[in-house]
Amino acid sequence: MEPVTEGTILAQDGDLKTQEYFVNMGPQHPSTHGVLRLVLGLDGEIITKVEPHIGYIHRSIEKMCEHDNYRQIVHLTDRMDYLSAHINNEAVCLAVENALEIEVSDRVKVIRTIFAELTRLASHQLWWGVMGMDLGALTTFLYAFRDREMINDIFEETCGARLTMNYNVPGGLMFDLHPNFQKRVKEFLVHFKSKLPEYDMLLSDNVIFRQRTEGVGVLSKEDAISFGVTGPTARGSGVSCDVRKLHPYSAYDRVEFKEILMADGDSFARYKARILEMWESISIVEQLLDNIPEGDILAPTKAVIKLPKGEFYQRVETARGELGVYVISDGGKSPYRLKFRSPGFSNLFVLEHIAKGAKIADLVAMMSTIDIVVPDIDR
């Protein structure tokens, strides 16, 4: 397609003439959150077409997996959705453990769940900060990063990394918790529970913010299911799709939490779903933190892991939705084929559907509430 065409004359009544424009948004654009290029068709400031062009950071992780062993594959996954790194690692580990019928200890399950929820909190914090910034409120970015830093510090203390953690290995965890872990998480929870209402005060109750998100980018429940949208994006449209509830893994069957479902399906509903989800994550961490059972942190596995012949499908709930790991094994040390069903890929392509007919300024809000992470889409 031509980036900018001369355009066709759409209206010829009177003096007003409107040309249809094609505008490139990205690949270098602050609100595309990475190298994503959208080709927009515009009639004035009304969007007639949104065509996502992806693949700028495609690394063919699926092809690499066909040559790597299962321990190495775990390390590739946190290069996909780097904001849900721990949960991505967990997906591959669970797939291997279920295929080999390895029973991991309760301690591992609980620690994995606490880490996953802290990861989700950190991811939603970053999303909230960036969402405000996309709509012109720089303050939110600074507030969110102040709080997110505390979680990153907690991760760093236990596993030495802040973002790409590689804390999970098939069979359990790489090392035990740092002695300070519980104390610091408690400090964080006290701090963040007093700050989360501020998030509401700053954005959720802000008149300008609500005018720009309410009734904008409405996605119906049927369309959300048909487009394969998952995570808070789908739950904003009332689709019950939380993998933690539908197919509980790790310690999610022993904690109580609500699946947040909103009715409206607009940008604000998707926004609110994530804010309310943060409260649920806090509650899950609180329920587990004082009851971490004793036990081994690593179940014995063979040096070279070989999965039995067959097909295995494992899904987890990342901060963006359902991540599926589909492994076809021929009995060797590498998978014959490994497919990552990434939540971002399916979620992104609903954008044209909800943005058609909206104003170009609102597109940024819609993109923010879909919560795109480009490496997750390109893989």
């Binding site: 040559h67 067959g310 499908y313 589909y326 084929r337």
Partner: protein, 153 residues
């Protein structure tokens, strides 16, 4: 609906479908390209099955044939199954599109076309999606060789 009831339904709709449960946690229905579309429509729109959510679509390159794998779930009945289409023709692999039945298939099919070279008949916009438009070959095929970008093992 449990797997036994699903098996009976599918066998009634498409007697030639191969139904397999071994080696997978789901019920697998394996069909040929001409049978795919009619069976997919039945699975999606019949009141008893109502598979309205396609949660994964993958291509696979087996030594003898290519395969497209559709993981299906019903959000009303909560049951799941896998629909597979076996494409014997490796030179000109083609199958009907399902993107008007499940909208998410449109983009996943483009990915399978991009990486495996499987064509989808009647697809509205079949172009490469991840790789550049002038890319040669289909990287996820097992016989693909790229001396520049690939490390040989």
């Amino acid at each position: 609906m449990d797997n036994e009831a699903l098996k009976q339904k599918i066998a009634a709709w498409e007697p030639a479908a191969e139904l397999v449960e071994e080696g997978s946690q789901f019920l697998n229905a394996i069909v040929t390209p001409p049978q795919l579309r009619a069976l997919a429509e039945k699975l999606r729109y019949d009141e008893a099955t109502r598979f309205d959510y396609m949660f994964c679509l993958s291509g696979v390159d087996f030594p003898e044939h290519l395969m497209v794998v559709y993981h299906l779930r019903s959000t009303t009945h909560q049951h799941e199954m896998v629909l597979k289409v076996k494409i014997e023709d490796k030179e000109n692999p083609a199958v009907d599109t399902l993107c008007d039945i499940w909208r998410t298939a449109e983009f996943h099919e483009r990915e399978v076309y991009d990486l495996f070279g499987i064509k989808f008949h009647k697809h509205p916009d079949l172009r490469r999606i991840l790789l550049a438009e002038d890319w040669q070959g289909y990287p996820l095929r097992k016989d693909y060789v790229d001396p520049v970008n690939m490390i040989s093992y």
